[in-house]
Protein backbone atom coordinates (compact mmCIF):
# COMPACT_ATOMS: atom_id res chain seq x y z
CA UNK A 1 0.00 0.00 0.00
CA UNK A 2 1.88 3.02 -1.21
CA UNK A 3 1.16 6.56 -0.18
CA UNK A 4 -0.76 8.84 -2.53
CA UNK A 5 0.71 11.89 -0.83
CA UNK A 6 4.05 11.62 0.85
CA UNK A 7 6.28 14.21 2.48
CA UNK A 8 9.68 13.72 4.08
CA UNK A 9 11.43 16.38 6.14
CA UNK A 10 9.52 19.20 4.45
CA UNK A 11 10.73 22.65 5.45
CA UNK A 12 9.79 26.20 4.48
CA UNK A 13 10.78 29.59 5.91
CA UNK A 14 9.47 33.06 5.13
CA UNK A 15 11.63 36.00 6.17
CA UNK A 16 13.55 33.84 8.63
CA UNK A 17 10.41 32.36 10.23
CA UNK A 18 10.16 28.63 9.87
CA UNK A 19 6.55 28.11 8.79
CA UNK A 20 6.89 24.39 8.11
CA UNK A 21 9.55 22.63 10.13
CA UNK A 22 10.54 19.09 9.20
CA UNK A 23 7.17 17.67 8.26
CA UNK A 24 6.72 13.94 7.54
CA UNK A 25 3.40 12.76 6.17
CA UNK A 26 2.01 9.72 4.36
CA UNK A 27 -1.56 9.66 3.15
CA UNK A 28 -2.97 6.48 1.64
CA UNK A 29 -5.37 5.83 -1.19
CA UNK A 30 -9.02 6.20 -0.23
CA UNK A 31 -8.23 7.91 3.02
CA UNK A 32 -9.74 11.12 4.32
CA UNK A 33 -6.89 12.80 6.14
CA UNK A 34 -7.37 15.93 8.26
CA UNK A 35 -4.71 18.47 9.02
CA UNK A 36 -5.65 20.40 12.14
CA UNK A 37 -3.98 23.38 13.68
CA UNK A 38 -4.52 26.94 14.85
CA UNK A 39 -4.20 29.85 12.45
CA UNK A 40 -0.61 30.26 11.34
CA UNK A 41 0.30 26.64 12.15
CA UNK A 42 1.54 26.09 8.59
CA UNK A 43 -1.40 24.13 7.18
CA UNK A 44 -1.93 26.15 4.01
CA UNK A 45 1.81 26.36 3.30
CA UNK A 46 1.96 22.57 3.67
CA UNK A 47 -0.88 22.12 1.18
CA UNK A 48 0.78 24.49 -1.27
CA UNK A 49 4.06 22.55 -1.09
CA UNK A 50 2.26 19.21 -1.52
CA UNK A 51 0.51 20.63 -4.61
CA UNK A 52 3.86 21.76 -5.97
CA UNK A 53 2.84 25.42 -6.03
CA UNK A 54 5.82 26.45 -3.94
CA UNK A 55 9.18 24.79 -3.55
CA UNK A 56 10.28 23.58 -0.10
CA UNK A 57 13.58 24.85 1.30
CA UNK A 58 14.42 21.29 2.28
CA UNK A 59 12.82 17.86 2.15
CA UNK A 60 10.94 16.02 -0.58
CA UNK A 61 7.32 15.42 -1.50
CA UNK A 62 5.51 13.15 -3.92
CA UNK A 63 1.95 13.48 -5.16
CA UNK A 64 0.48 10.42 -6.89
CA UNK A 65 4.00 8.97 -7.08
CA UNK A 66 5.32 12.01 -8.94
CA UNK A 67 7.94 14.27 -7.36
CA UNK A 68 6.68 17.80 -6.65
CA UNK A 69 7.29 20.55 -7.48
CA UNK A 70 9.36 19.01 -10.34
CA UNK A 71 6.47 17.09 -11.89
CA UNK A 72 3.66 19.07 -10.27
CA UNK A 73 1.96 19.80 -13.57
CA UNK A 74 1.60 16.13 -14.47
CA UNK A 75 0.46 15.29 -10.93
CA UNK A 76 -2.17 18.02 -10.84
CA UNK A 77 -3.93 16.55 -13.88
CA UNK A 78 -5.40 14.06 -11.40
CA UNK A 79 -5.91 16.45 -8.47
CA UNK A 80 -8.79 18.73 -7.47
CA UNK A 81 -8.46 21.72 -5.16
CA UNK A 82 -11.03 23.52 -3.02
CA UNK A 83 -9.25 26.69 -1.89
CA UNK A 84 -9.77 28.47 1.38
CA UNK A 85 -11.28 31.56 -0.26
CA UNK A 86 -13.73 31.35 -3.13
CA UNK A 87 -12.18 32.19 -6.47
CA UNK A 88 -15.01 31.40 -8.83
CA UNK A 89 -15.30 33.51 -11.96
CA UNK A 90 -17.87 36.20 -11.08
CA UNK A 91 -18.56 37.03 -14.74
CA UNK A 92 -19.72 33.52 -15.54
CA UNK A 93 -22.75 31.39 -14.84
CA UNK A 94 -22.50 28.23 -12.76
CA UNK A 95 -22.20 25.99 -15.84
CA UNK A 96 -19.69 28.32 -17.54
CA UNK A 97 -17.47 28.17 -14.47
CA UNK A 98 -17.28 24.40 -14.83
CA UNK A 99 -16.72 24.53 -18.60
CA UNK A 100 -13.94 27.10 -18.44
CA UNK A 101 -12.22 25.31 -15.56
CA UNK A 102 -12.28 21.96 -17.30
CA UNK A 103 -10.44 23.47 -20.26
CA UNK A 104 -7.46 24.24 -18.01
CA UNK A 105 -7.05 20.46 -17.63
CA UNK A 106 -6.87 20.07 -21.38
CA UNK A 107 -10.34 18.52 -21.54
CA UNK A 108 -12.45 18.92 -24.66
CA UNK A 109 -15.65 20.92 -24.45
CA UNK A 110 -17.76 17.87 -25.33
CA UNK A 111 -16.13 15.87 -22.55
CA UNK A 112 -16.74 18.65 -19.99
CA UNK A 113 -20.30 19.31 -21.12
CA UNK A 114 -21.08 15.62 -20.69
CA UNK A 115 -19.94 15.84 -17.07
CA UNK A 116 -21.70 19.08 -16.13
CA UNK A 117 -25.17 17.61 -15.36
CA UNK A 118 -23.67 15.09 -12.93
CA UNK A 119 -21.48 17.71 -11.29
CA UNK A 120 -24.44 20.06 -10.86
CA UNK A 121 -26.51 17.29 -9.36
CA UNK A 122 -23.72 16.36 -6.97
CA UNK A 123 -23.52 19.99 -5.87
CA UNK A 124 -27.35 20.31 -5.69
CA UNK A 125 -27.10 23.18 -8.16
CA UNK A 126 -29.03 21.80 -11.13
CA UNK A 127 -31.65 24.54 -10.78
CA UNK A 128 -28.89 27.19 -10.69
CA UNK A 129 -27.17 26.07 -13.87
CA UNK A 130 -27.49 29.46 -15.60
CA UNK A 131 -27.31 31.69 -12.52
CA UNK A 132 -24.45 34.16 -12.27
CA UNK A 133 -21.99 33.51 -9.45
CA UNK A 134 -22.67 36.77 -7.51
CA UNK A 135 -26.32 35.73 -7.08
CA UNK A 136 -25.38 32.49 -5.25
CA UNK A 137 -25.41 32.08 -1.47
CA UNK A 138 -22.20 31.27 0.41
CA UNK A 139 -23.14 27.60 0.63
CA UNK A 140 -23.93 27.40 -3.09
CA UNK A 141 -20.59 29.00 -3.95
CA UNK A 142 -18.76 26.43 -1.84
CA UNK A 143 -20.68 23.60 -3.49
CA UNK A 144 -19.84 25.01 -6.91
CA UNK A 145 -16.19 25.26 -5.88
CA UNK A 146 -16.36 21.60 -4.85
CA UNK A 147 -18.01 20.64 -8.15
CA UNK A 148 -15.34 22.60 -10.02
CA UNK A 149 -12.63 20.66 -8.17
CA UNK A 150 -14.22 17.45 -9.50
CA UNK A 151 -14.46 18.50 -13.14
CA UNK A 152 -11.37 16.44 -14.07
CA UNK A 153 -12.56 13.41 -12.03
CA UNK A 154 -9.50 13.66 -9.75
CA UNK A 155 -8.04 10.83 -7.64
CA UNK A 156 -6.96 13.23 -4.90
CA UNK A 157 -8.82 16.27 -3.57
CA UNK A 158 -7.23 19.00 -1.47
CA UNK A 159 -9.68 21.00 0.64
CA UNK A 160 -8.46 24.05 2.56
CA UNK A 161 -11.04 24.85 5.26
CA UNK A 162 -13.98 23.73 3.09
CA UNK A 163 -16.77 24.81 5.46
CA UNK A 164 -15.41 28.00 7.01
CA UNK A 165 -18.08 30.71 7.04
CA UNK A 166 -21.00 28.39 6.24
CA UNK A 167 -24.21 27.95 8.22
CA UNK A 168 -24.94 24.51 9.78
CA UNK A 169 -27.25 23.37 6.98
CA UNK A 170 -24.66 24.20 4.34
CA UNK A 171 -21.89 22.49 6.34
CA UNK A 172 -23.90 19.30 6.73
CA UNK A 173 -24.53 19.13 2.99
CA UNK A 174 -20.81 19.57 2.26
CA UNK A 175 -19.94 16.86 4.80
CA UNK A 176 -22.39 14.46 3.19
CA UNK A 177 -20.80 15.09 -0.22
CA UNK A 178 -17.28 14.63 1.11
CA UNK A 179 -18.31 11.30 2.64
CA UNK A 180 -19.70 10.23 -0.74
CA UNK A 181 -16.34 11.08 -2.31
CA UNK A 182 -14.43 8.91 0.16
CA UNK A 183 -16.92 6.12 -0.50
CA UNK A 184 -16.06 6.41 -4.19
CA UNK A 185 -12.45 5.72 -3.22
CA UNK A 186 -11.08 9.22 -3.64
CA UNK A 187 -8.31 10.42 -1.36
CA UNK A 188 -9.09 13.60 0.57
CA UNK A 189 -6.68 15.90 2.35
CA UNK A 190 -8.46 18.62 4.25
CA UNK A 191 -7.49 21.32 6.69
CA UNK A 192 -9.96 22.57 9.23
CA UNK A 193 -10.22 24.05 12.65
CA UNK A 194 -13.67 22.64 13.26
CA UNK A 195 -13.09 19.62 15.47
CA UNK A 196 -16.55 18.18 14.89
CA UNK A 197 -15.84 18.28 11.16
CA UNK A 198 -12.56 16.46 11.61
CA UNK A 199 -14.09 13.88 13.96
CA UNK A 200 -16.96 13.10 11.60
CA UNK A 201 -15.09 12.99 8.32
CA UNK A 202 -11.50 11.97 8.80
CA UNK A 203 -10.10 8.47 9.02
CA UNK A 204 -6.85 9.93 10.26
CA UNK A 205 -5.77 13.29 11.60
CA UNK A 206 -2.61 15.14 12.32
CA UNK A 207 -2.43 18.09 14.67
CA UNK A 208 0.02 20.71 13.53
CA UNK A 209 1.45 23.67 15.41
CA UNK A 210 4.39 25.97 14.74
CA UNK A 211 5.14 24.10 11.53
CA UNK A 212 5.47 20.68 13.18
CA UNK A 213 3.20 17.65 13.46
CA UNK A 214 2.62 17.14 17.15
CA UNK A 215 0.24 14.18 17.09
CA UNK A 216 -1.17 11.82 14.51
CA UNK A 217 -3.76 9.01 14.41
CA UNK A 218 -7.46 8.23 14.09
CA UNK A 219 -9.79 10.60 15.99
CA UNK A 220 -10.29 7.93 18.67
CA UNK A 221 -6.55 7.21 18.95
CA UNK A 222 -5.80 10.89 19.35
CA UNK A 223 -8.31 11.18 22.17
CA UNK A 224 -7.17 7.99 23.90
CA UNK A 225 -3.49 8.72 23.67
CA UNK A 226 -3.56 12.40 24.58
CA UNK A 227 -6.22 12.96 27.18
CA UNK A 228 -8.22 11.56 30.10
CA UNK A 229 -11.52 10.01 28.95
CA UNK A 230 -13.93 12.20 30.98
CA UNK A 231 -14.32 15.95 31.18
CA UNK A 232 -16.28 17.93 33.74
CA UNK A 233 -16.78 21.58 32.87
CA UNK A 234 -17.58 23.78 35.86
CA UNK A 235 -19.16 27.21 35.39
CA UNK A 236 -19.94 30.11 37.69
CA UNK A 237 -18.53 33.32 39.09
CA UNK A 238 -16.69 31.37 41.77
CA UNK A 239 -15.50 28.60 39.44
CA UNK A 240 -11.92 29.89 39.32
CA UNK A 241 -11.68 30.10 43.14
CA UNK A 242 -13.28 26.68 43.48
CA UNK A 243 -10.82 25.21 41.01
CA UNK A 244 -7.85 26.72 42.84
CA UNK A 245 -9.01 25.26 46.11
CA UNK A 246 -10.60 21.91 45.23
CA UNK A 247 -10.04 20.78 41.62
CA UNK A 248 -6.67 19.18 42.21
CA UNK A 249 -8.30 16.85 44.73
CA UNK A 250 -10.57 15.34 42.07
CA UNK A 251 -8.94 15.83 38.69
CA UNK A 252 -5.70 14.65 37.08
CA UNK A 253 -5.46 17.90 35.31
CA UNK A 254 -7.56 21.05 35.18
CA UNK A 255 -7.56 24.34 33.31
CA UNK A 256 -9.26 27.60 34.12
CA UNK A 257 -10.50 29.84 31.33
CA UNK A 258 -12.50 32.91 32.41
CA UNK A 259 -15.45 31.72 34.52
CA UNK A 260 -15.06 28.09 33.52
CA UNK A 261 -12.90 25.31 34.87
CA UNK A 262 -12.19 22.22 32.75
CA UNK A 263 -11.41 19.12 34.81
CA UNK A 264 -9.96 16.07 33.04
CA UNK A 265 -10.64 12.82 34.95
CA UNK A 266 -10.57 9.06 34.57
CA UNK A 267 -13.56 8.61 36.86
CA UNK A 268 -15.96 11.51 37.13
CA UNK A 269 -18.21 10.16 39.89
CA UNK A 270 -16.48 11.65 42.99
CA UNK A 271 -16.21 15.07 41.31
CA UNK A 272 -19.84 15.04 40.16
CA UNK A 273 -20.99 14.05 43.66
CA UNK A 274 -18.98 16.93 45.09
CA UNK A 275 -20.35 19.42 42.57
CA UNK A 276 -23.92 18.46 43.41
CA UNK A 277 -23.30 20.02 46.82
CA UNK A 278 -21.99 23.30 45.36
CA UNK A 279 -25.08 25.42 44.73
CA UNK A 280 -23.12 28.36 43.23
CA UNK A 281 -21.66 26.22 40.43
CA UNK A 282 -23.14 24.62 37.37
CA UNK A 283 -21.41 21.73 35.64
CA UNK A 284 -21.44 19.58 32.52
CA UNK A 285 -20.10 16.05 32.49
CA UNK A 286 -19.18 14.67 29.06
CA UNK A 287 -16.72 12.33 27.33
CA UNK A 288 -13.48 13.89 26.13
CA UNK A 289 -13.51 14.97 22.49
CA UNK A 290 -11.13 16.13 19.84
CA UNK A 291 -11.45 19.76 20.84
CA UNK A 292 -10.06 18.90 24.27
CA UNK A 293 -7.10 17.20 22.60
CA UNK A 294 -6.59 20.16 20.29
CA UNK A 295 -6.63 22.68 23.13
CA UNK A 296 -4.31 20.53 25.22
CA UNK A 297 -1.81 20.19 22.38
CA UNK A 298 -1.91 23.73 21.05
CA UNK A 299 -2.82 25.71 24.18
CA UNK A 300 -5.68 28.05 24.91
CA UNK A 301 -4.01 31.31 23.98
CA UNK A 302 -5.36 33.23 21.00
CA UNK A 303 -3.35 33.03 17.76
CA UNK A 304 -3.40 36.24 15.84
Amino acid sequence: MNAVIKATGLQKSYDGNRVVDGLDLAIHRGECFGLLGPNGAGKTTTLRMLLGLIAPDAGTATLLDLPVPQAAREARIRVGVVPQMDNLDPDFSVAENLLVYGRYFGMHDSEIKARIPDLLEFASLTHKRDAKVPTLSGGMKRRLTLARALVNDPDVIFLDEPTTGLDPQARHLIWQRLRELTQQGKTLLLTTHFMDEAERLCHRLAVMDNGKLISEGSPRELIESNIEPQVVEVYGETAAQWAGACAAGFAHRFEVSGESAFCYVNDAQPLVAHLQTQSALRYLHRPANLEDVFLKLTGREMRE
Partner: protein, 261 residues
Protein backbone atom coordinates in the same frame (compact mmCIF):
# COMPACT_ATOMS: atom_id res chain seq x y z
CA UNK B 1 17.08 29.33 -3.20
CA UNK B 2 15.57 32.16 -5.25
CA UNK B 3 17.39 30.99 -8.38
CA UNK B 4 14.23 29.58 -9.94
CA UNK B 5 12.74 33.08 -10.14
CA UNK B 6 15.20 33.82 -12.92
CA UNK B 7 14.63 30.69 -15.00
CA UNK B 8 13.78 31.42 -18.62
CA UNK B 9 10.05 31.35 -19.44
CA UNK B 10 8.73 27.87 -20.24
CA UNK B 11 6.03 28.51 -22.76
CA UNK B 12 3.31 26.13 -23.86
CA UNK B 13 -0.04 26.12 -25.61
CA UNK B 14 -1.72 25.81 -22.22
CA UNK B 15 -2.09 29.58 -22.25
CA UNK B 16 -4.88 29.16 -24.79
CA UNK B 17 -7.72 28.02 -22.47
CA UNK B 18 -6.95 31.07 -20.31
CA UNK B 19 -7.06 33.34 -23.33
CA UNK B 20 -10.44 31.80 -24.19
CA UNK B 21 -11.64 32.58 -20.68
CA UNK B 22 -10.80 36.27 -21.13
CA UNK B 23 -12.47 36.23 -24.54
CA UNK B 24 -15.66 34.74 -23.08
CA UNK B 25 -15.76 37.45 -20.42
CA UNK B 26 -15.16 40.13 -23.05
CA UNK B 27 -17.96 38.83 -25.28
CA UNK B 28 -20.41 39.52 -22.45
CA UNK B 29 -19.45 43.19 -22.38
CA UNK B 30 -18.51 43.62 -26.04
CA UNK B 31 -20.81 46.55 -26.87
CA UNK B 32 -19.67 49.01 -24.16
CA UNK B 33 -16.11 47.79 -24.64
CA UNK B 34 -16.03 48.57 -28.38
CA UNK B 35 -17.59 51.97 -27.68
CA UNK B 36 -14.85 52.60 -25.10
CA UNK B 37 -12.15 51.59 -27.59
CA UNK B 38 -13.50 54.04 -30.13
CA UNK B 39 -15.02 57.03 -28.41
CA UNK B 40 -11.97 58.51 -26.72
CA UNK B 41 -9.44 58.26 -29.56
CA UNK B 42 -11.92 59.26 -32.27
CA UNK B 43 -13.10 62.33 -30.33
CA UNK B 44 -9.49 63.39 -29.80
CA UNK B 45 -8.65 62.85 -33.44
CA UNK B 46 -11.66 64.69 -34.77
CA UNK B 47 -11.59 67.48 -32.19
CA UNK B 48 -7.91 68.26 -32.61
CA UNK B 49 -7.93 67.42 -36.30
CA UNK B 50 -10.72 69.86 -37.17
CA UNK B 51 -9.94 72.40 -34.46
CA UNK B 52 -6.17 72.69 -34.80
CA UNK B 53 -6.13 71.41 -38.38
CA UNK B 54 -7.94 74.52 -39.60
CA UNK B 55 -5.08 76.65 -38.22
CA UNK B 56 -2.30 74.47 -39.63
CA UNK B 57 -1.82 74.27 -43.40
CA UNK B 58 -0.02 70.94 -43.08
CA UNK B 59 2.18 68.87 -40.82
CA UNK B 60 4.92 66.51 -41.96
CA UNK B 61 3.76 66.89 -45.55
CA UNK B 62 0.12 65.91 -44.94
CA UNK B 63 -3.09 67.37 -43.52
CA UNK B 64 -3.06 67.63 -39.73
CA UNK B 65 -5.96 65.17 -39.53
CA UNK B 66 -4.02 62.59 -41.55
CA UNK B 67 -0.96 63.26 -39.36
CA UNK B 68 -3.02 62.63 -36.23
CA UNK B 69 -4.63 59.47 -37.60
CA UNK B 70 -1.43 57.39 -37.41
CA UNK B 71 -0.62 58.69 -33.92
CA UNK B 72 -4.15 57.99 -32.74
CA UNK B 73 -3.99 54.32 -33.73
CA UNK B 74 -0.70 54.00 -31.82
CA UNK B 75 -1.74 55.66 -28.60
CA UNK B 76 -5.14 54.00 -28.48
CA UNK B 77 -3.50 50.58 -28.81
CA UNK B 78 -1.00 51.59 -26.12
CA UNK B 79 -3.85 52.61 -23.83
CA UNK B 80 -5.98 49.52 -24.29
CA UNK B 81 -3.08 47.16 -23.60
CA UNK B 82 -2.02 49.21 -20.58
CA UNK B 83 -5.49 49.37 -19.00
CA UNK B 84 -6.01 45.66 -19.56
CA UNK B 85 -2.63 44.65 -18.13
CA UNK B 86 -2.86 46.96 -15.13
CA UNK B 87 -6.46 47.21 -13.93
CA UNK B 88 -7.97 44.03 -15.33
CA UNK B 89 -4.80 42.03 -14.78
CA UNK B 90 -4.62 43.16 -11.17
CA UNK B 91 -8.28 42.25 -10.67
CA UNK B 92 -7.63 38.75 -11.98
CA UNK B 93 -4.44 38.26 -9.98
CA UNK B 94 -5.46 39.89 -6.71
CA UNK B 95 -9.12 40.83 -6.35
CA UNK B 96 -10.89 37.88 -7.95
CA UNK B 97 -8.10 35.36 -7.34
CA UNK B 98 -8.64 34.03 -10.84
CA UNK B 99 -4.94 33.24 -11.17
CA UNK B 100 -4.98 31.25 -7.94
CA UNK B 101 -7.82 29.12 -9.28
CA UNK B 102 -6.01 28.56 -12.58
CA UNK B 103 -2.68 27.75 -10.92
CA UNK B 104 -4.30 24.84 -9.05
CA UNK B 105 -4.76 23.13 -12.42
CA UNK B 106 -1.98 21.74 -14.65
CA UNK B 107 -1.19 25.27 -15.86
CA UNK B 108 1.94 27.13 -14.77
CA UNK B 109 2.47 30.77 -13.87
CA UNK B 110 4.45 31.19 -17.10
CA UNK B 111 1.34 30.19 -19.06
CA UNK B 112 -0.84 32.55 -17.02
CA UNK B 113 1.45 35.55 -17.59
CA UNK B 114 1.74 34.73 -21.29
CA UNK B 115 -2.05 34.58 -21.56
CA UNK B 116 -2.34 38.00 -19.90
CA UNK B 117 0.08 39.53 -22.40
CA UNK B 118 -1.55 37.92 -25.39
CA UNK B 119 -5.00 38.89 -24.19
CA UNK B 120 -4.03 42.53 -23.58
CA UNK B 121 -2.43 42.56 -27.04
CA UNK B 122 -5.68 41.15 -28.43
CA UNK B 123 -7.51 44.12 -26.91
CA UNK B 124 -4.94 46.39 -28.62
CA UNK B 125 -5.58 44.63 -31.88
CA UNK B 126 -9.32 45.19 -31.56
CA UNK B 127 -8.89 48.81 -30.58
CA UNK B 128 -6.37 49.48 -33.37
CA UNK B 129 -8.62 47.84 -35.95
CA UNK B 130 -11.64 49.84 -34.76
CA UNK B 131 -9.79 53.17 -35.04
CA UNK B 132 -8.38 52.13 -38.41
CA UNK B 133 -11.90 51.42 -39.66
CA UNK B 134 -12.96 54.95 -38.70
CA UNK B 135 -9.90 56.33 -40.50
CA UNK B 136 -10.88 54.49 -43.67
CA UNK B 137 -14.48 55.56 -43.41
CA UNK B 138 -13.35 59.18 -43.08
CA UNK B 139 -11.06 58.69 -46.09
CA UNK B 140 -7.94 59.65 -44.14
CA UNK B 141 -5.93 56.79 -45.58
CA UNK B 142 -6.19 55.36 -49.07
CA UNK B 143 -3.26 52.96 -49.10
CA UNK B 144 -3.67 49.22 -48.73
CA UNK B 145 -0.35 49.37 -46.93
CA UNK B 146 -2.29 50.75 -43.96
CA UNK B 147 -3.45 47.17 -43.43
CA UNK B 148 -0.01 46.60 -41.90
CA UNK B 149 -1.35 48.70 -39.01
CA UNK B 150 -3.19 45.59 -37.82
CA UNK B 151 -0.10 43.45 -37.07
CA UNK B 152 1.57 46.63 -35.82
CA UNK B 153 -1.27 47.14 -33.31
CA UNK B 154 -0.60 43.62 -32.05
CA UNK B 155 3.12 44.34 -31.67
CA UNK B 156 2.48 47.63 -29.84
CA UNK B 157 0.01 45.74 -27.66
CA UNK B 158 2.60 43.09 -26.78
CA UNK B 159 5.16 45.71 -25.75
CA UNK B 160 2.78 47.77 -23.60
CA UNK B 161 1.05 44.73 -22.12
CA UNK B 162 4.41 43.38 -20.96
CA UNK B 163 5.48 46.78 -19.60
CA UNK B 164 2.17 47.16 -17.81
CA UNK B 165 2.46 43.73 -16.20
CA UNK B 166 5.69 44.82 -14.52
CA UNK B 167 3.60 47.43 -12.69
CA UNK B 168 0.89 44.90 -11.92
CA UNK B 169 3.50 42.58 -10.41
CA UNK B 170 4.72 45.39 -8.16
CA UNK B 171 1.37 46.98 -7.29
CA UNK B 172 0.12 46.86 -3.69
CA UNK B 173 -3.27 48.29 -4.79
CA UNK B 174 -5.03 49.99 -7.68
CA UNK B 175 -3.88 53.50 -6.59
CA UNK B 176 -0.35 52.55 -7.55
CA UNK B 177 -1.25 52.59 -11.25
CA UNK B 178 -1.76 56.34 -11.17
CA UNK B 179 2.05 56.73 -11.04
CA UNK B 180 2.45 54.72 -14.19
CA UNK B 181 -0.21 56.58 -16.13
CA UNK B 182 0.96 60.00 -14.93
CA UNK B 183 4.70 59.40 -15.19
CA UNK B 184 4.94 56.99 -18.12
CA UNK B 185 1.88 56.78 -20.35
CA UNK B 186 0.85 60.46 -20.51
CA UNK B 187 4.41 61.74 -21.14
CA UNK B 188 4.78 59.17 -23.91
CA UNK B 189 1.58 60.36 -25.51
CA UNK B 190 2.96 63.91 -25.55
CA UNK B 191 6.63 63.25 -26.39
CA UNK B 192 6.52 60.48 -28.94
CA UNK B 193 5.17 62.18 -32.06
CA UNK B 194 1.46 61.49 -31.69
CA UNK B 195 0.33 65.14 -31.91
CA UNK B 196 3.42 66.80 -33.47
CA UNK B 197 6.75 65.64 -34.88
CA UNK B 198 9.43 64.68 -32.33
CA UNK B 199 11.80 66.98 -34.27
CA UNK B 200 9.93 70.00 -32.83
CA UNK B 201 11.19 69.14 -29.34
CA UNK B 202 14.44 70.46 -27.78
CA UNK B 203 17.38 68.10 -28.34
CA UNK B 204 17.33 66.58 -24.85
CA UNK B 205 13.68 65.61 -25.18
CA UNK B 206 14.35 64.15 -28.61
CA UNK B 207 16.99 61.84 -27.13
CA UNK B 208 14.54 60.66 -24.46
CA UNK B 209 11.78 60.22 -27.02
CA UNK B 210 14.10 58.15 -29.18
CA UNK B 211 14.36 55.56 -26.41
CA UNK B 212 10.62 55.27 -25.81
CA UNK B 213 8.62 52.50 -27.47
CA UNK B 214 5.73 54.69 -28.62
CA UNK B 215 8.11 56.78 -30.77
CA UNK B 216 9.10 53.67 -32.69
CA UNK B 217 5.47 52.66 -33.07
CA UNK B 218 4.59 56.08 -34.53
CA UNK B 219 7.62 55.99 -36.82
CA UNK B 220 6.28 52.77 -38.29
CA UNK B 221 2.63 53.79 -38.38
CA UNK B 222 2.80 57.17 -40.11
CA UNK B 223 4.57 56.05 -43.31
CA UNK B 224 2.35 52.94 -43.49
CA UNK B 225 -0.77 55.10 -43.40
CA UNK B 226 0.59 57.03 -46.37
CA UNK B 227 1.58 53.99 -48.36
CA UNK B 228 5.31 54.33 -47.77
CA UNK B 229 7.64 51.62 -46.49
CA UNK B 230 8.86 52.96 -43.13
CA UNK B 231 12.55 53.95 -43.11
CA UNK B 232 14.57 51.88 -40.62
CA UNK B 233 11.60 49.55 -40.19
CA UNK B 234 13.78 46.72 -38.87
CA UNK B 235 15.18 48.94 -36.13
CA UNK B 236 11.73 50.10 -35.00
CA UNK B 237 10.29 46.59 -35.02
CA UNK B 238 13.38 45.39 -33.17
CA UNK B 239 12.96 48.01 -30.44
CA UNK B 240 9.29 47.14 -29.91
CA UNK B 241 10.08 43.43 -29.84
CA UNK B 242 12.94 44.00 -27.40
CA UNK B 243 10.62 45.95 -25.08
CA UNK B 244 8.03 43.17 -25.29
CA UNK B 245 10.49 40.33 -24.60
CA UNK B 246 12.50 42.06 -21.88
CA UNK B 247 9.38 43.30 -20.08
CA UNK B 248 7.76 39.87 -20.32
CA UNK B 249 10.79 38.30 -18.67
CA UNK B 250 11.05 40.97 -15.96
CA UNK B 251 7.34 40.79 -15.16
CA UNK B 252 7.52 37.00 -14.99
CA UNK B 253 10.44 37.13 -12.52
CA UNK B 254 8.49 39.62 -10.40
CA UNK B 255 5.31 37.54 -10.49
CA UNK B 256 7.24 34.40 -9.52
CA UNK B 257 8.64 36.27 -6.53
CA UNK B 258 5.30 37.83 -5.57
CA UNK B 259 3.36 34.56 -5.77
CA UNK B 260 5.99 32.37 -4.12
CA UNK B 261 4.22 32.29 -0.78
Amino acid sequence: MSGHYFALPRLSLRFFPIWRRHWLVWKKIAAPSILGHLADPVIYMLGLGYGLGSLLPEMGGMSYMAFLAAGTVCYSTMNSASFEALYSGFARMHEQRTWEAILNTPVSLDDVVLSEILWAATKSLMSGAAVLAVIWILGLSHSLMSLWMIPLALLIGLAFAALGLIMTALAPAYDFFMYYFTLVITPMMLLCGVFFPVAQLPHGFQVVAGALPLTHAVDLARPLMNGVIPPQAVLHIGVLLAYALAAFYISLVLFRRRLSR
